[in-house]
Amino acid sequence: MARNDLIIRVAGEGGEGIVSSGDFIAAACARVGLEVYTFKTFPAEIKGGYCLYQIRTSSEQVYNQGDTFDVFCAFNGEAFELNKHLMTPGTAVVYDYPGGDFEPDLPEGVIGYPIPMSQTAKDLKSYRSKNMVALGALSVLFNIEEETLIRVLTDKFARKGDKILNLNLEAFAKGKELGAAHEKTDPYRVADPQGAKDVIIIDGNSAVGLGAIIGGLDFFSAYPITPATEVAKYVAKHLPKRGGTLIQAEDEIASIAQVLGASYAGKKAMTATSGPGLALMSEMLGMFTMSETPGLVVDVQRGGPSTGLPTKHEQSDLFLAIMGAHGDSPRIVLSVEDVKDCVDMTVEGLNIAEEYQCPVIILSDGSLAFSTQTFPTPDPSSFEIVNRKRWDGEGEYKRYEMTDDLISPMADPGTKGGLHVSTGLEHGETGAPKYTPENHELQAKKRFDKIKPIVDRYRPVEIQGEGDADVGIITWGSTIGVVREAVQRLRAEGLKVKGFYPKLMWPMPVEQYEAFAATCGKILVPEVNYQGQLSHFIRSETNIKSSIPYTICGGLPFTPAMIVERTKEILS
């Protein structure tokens, strides 16, 4: 497949400015109309530890972080060593030398550009601008539009005062000089500037926050947890502009309880957390189900079980999201593919919660959380906003009235004549406790049947490729972006491969899974968890016999190449 894209990886010790240099490159590329998809990993420790930032950029849309880097920039010896095995002949490596903490032993064929980053920063008496030196060198060596990059830096540092700005620009200029002194022998260059596009660039967590605000959120209850905290950070900043409230609760149980209370008050309410927090919310999520209260939780998944790998990527909360409740307790579970999706699905999540009066869980993940991506600037007026069915004030109000569509009108407190109890006990139509066998069977059926139509809302599930296929790939979450590219590549090679990309994880659109599978010889299900959690549900819910799980759980996303390879194995 033709690639005009480039992947630059910057790595070093946390605190060395890896993240900001990556951000600068990403912003500069985005400003000149290139598409950007970044990927980061952090250590679970607060200070120090290995940190990585990878920028993939192209004039065409990029769906994932890519296979591996073309250009590597090593801030220290550890970073170099950890990435050495990924370097192949032709890889360009910029590294801190002389004056750094290492003297690299470059693999055969790898093209090295030593840049004395630390030394230069030291000479400038500005230790913190080591990353600017690197940036200058990268800019000149790999065609990162200098003028734009300088404007990005200026915008960023202007707030910090002229002194800091100038120091950084000086370091940048020095780095450029050092870079230019090398003879470039590798072929890698960032694609040339395109016309500036109407895009934004934002990370997955902020995008959830943006979606929430577009979706009409009124109330957010936060409890910090990696890698979800930045959702609250974004909302805390912007929600007051719409007159809404964000509160930091004492724990996740209080958060979800507050969401219940706010939603009962007639407001749109949500929280965001990661696996451990979602686990703590299990009991209260059942109360949403039983009391038929709208509520949204975004779970930015991380490596588990337990505290696990708090800063690493994993897609392993599907079981908990779907089945983590006592009793027969239906929920709606959605997933997101990329950063744009974080916006769209959060709006959607708020809508669906309102429409079906039930708990909705959106599964994002650690790689999307911090990934910044470019996408067309959303037009807030283009989003459909759904509000709960409210009582019309006619007749006697019954909170849990049996209606044709099984959705009972709600009466917000303050509504005349709408007095009622919202309860976690089994109840009859009025909300009064009712434990007869017939009633429990009836209400259980109501709770399950009322959400069934959601499946129609997600019909058809997106399919990539047409006609019959030898291999159909079913996947979810951010793995979709990886599979998209793999399917493109495989089809470009003339192989009969298709992709199936559900966003609605539960209830499962069974019929559509089955229809897809009917057109495929074999079914491959890649996902980043140990057990093959989606595969489990494919087995339990559909008639698909022969699905082949492909699971990894190393804290990293798949690469397109891995999917391509595995698919070919299956094909042969």
């Binding site: 990403a26 912003a27 500069a28 985005a30 400003r31 990005v152 895009v199 934004i200 660039i201 934002i202 902020s206 943006l210 605000i213 009124d218 109330f219 912007h238 007051p240 502009k241 719409r242 007159g243 809404g244 409230t245 509160i247 609760a249 004492e250 724990d251 149980i253 209080a254 309880a257 507050q258 969401v259 219940l260 209370g261 706010a262 939603s263 009962y264 008050a265 007639g266 407001k267 309410a269 009991e283 209260m284 109360m287 470019t374 600037t377 959303p378 807030p380 917000d412 407190p413 303050g414 509504t415 709408g418 007095l419 009622h420 109890v421 919202s422 309860t423 976690g424 006990l425 009064a432």
Partner: protein, 296 residues
């Protein structure tokens, strides 16, 4: 509590009764508190349409069913956190939480400090019977060591807590204590608590003749004494002094009944509104202005 909901209606105490008859045992103290609550609502003219009562799980947590209002019968220990959400989401509502000693101080004990110090504009009535009633009689955080119950067949091994001192320490801005055997005093203190702007907490002793056989109505009658006339409820130090159980003197071993502490302070809502005002917040703030911040 939200002043918006006060003096809105003329209703007798009886008018606040729902159709659901209380499911409590004969002689249960909770009846007295419920009557006090009806009366307080009536005297303040609280509009049932704008009143939300939340509760957790327990005999006492059944109370909302018996009051004509909006209400949520939530989970064990979580009623206060739920009410916090309701109050913040719609500050025009009058918000109240009712529940037991187990509900509020055992499983719910982690939420109490934060409602108080955030000064959530709501009223919390704690039905303190020194026992887990609904689960048929276990030790609670306010049980006396003498109590032998399900999980403490050989007596209780721990110091009972002091609800008043807790709530004062947590910086509740209204702290009072009553006894179910005195529904008029209950009514009065609940009324003042409702009228208070900020977090008000009322601890009410309530006998459980079915499972707590040592804290009888007579025991409580003897336990409480009226807050002395000269107590200054605006004095936090004096309130703390009053709340501590004396070991000597005329009130040795006894507990005060009445208003212990009251202070005007900004509620969390007030402060949130300040933030909104500072950023020029409005429901029709142009979203594009927010989105534009993410342009590269």
């Amino acid at each position: 509590m939200s002043v918006a909901a006060l003096n809105k209606v003329e209703m007798t105490p009886k008018d606040y009764k729902s159709e659901v008859p209380p499911v409590w045992c004969p002689g249960c103290g909770h009846f007295g508190i419920l009557n006090g609550l009806y009366r307080a609502l009536s005297e303040l003219g609280v509009d049932p349409d704008n009143l939300v009562i939340t509760s957790g799980i327990g005999c006492s947590s059944r109370t909302p069913y018996f009051v004509d209002s909006y209400k949520m019968h939530t989970l064990h220990g979580r009623a206060g956190a739920v009410a916090t959400g309701t109050q913040l989401a719609n500050p025009d509502l009058a918000v109240m939480t009712v529940g037991g000693d187990g509900d509020g101080f055992s499983i719910g004990g982690g939420h109490m400090p934060h409602m108080a110090r955030k000064n959530i504009n709501m009223t919390y009535i704690l039905f303190d019977n020194g026992i887990y009633g609904l689960t048929k009689g276990q030790y609670s955080p306010t049980s006396r060591p003498e109590l032998k119950a399900y999980t403490t067949p050989y007596g209780g091994p721990e110091e009972p807590m002091n609800p008043l001192l807790y709530m004062l320490t947590y910086k509740a801005t209204y702290v009072a204590q009553a006894f179910a055997g005195k529904p008029r005093i209950c009514a009065e203190l609940i009324k003042q608590g409702i009228a208070h702007k900020g977090f008000s907490f009322i601890n009410i002793y309530s006998q459980c003749p079915t499972f707590n056989l040592i804290d009888t109505i007579q025991y409580y009658r003897d336990l409480v004494y009226e807050v002395p006339e000269d107590h200054d409820p605006s004095n936090r130090g004096a309130a703390i002094e009053l709340a501590r159980r004396k070991e000597t003197g005329p009130t040795a071993g006894k507990v005060p009944m009445g208003l212990i502490y009251q202070k005007e302070a900004p509620t969390l809502c007030d402060k949130m509104q300040e933030f909104v005002d500072n950023v020029g917040g409005t429901p029709d703030y142009d979203l594009n202005k927010i989105i534009d911040l993410s342009r590269p």
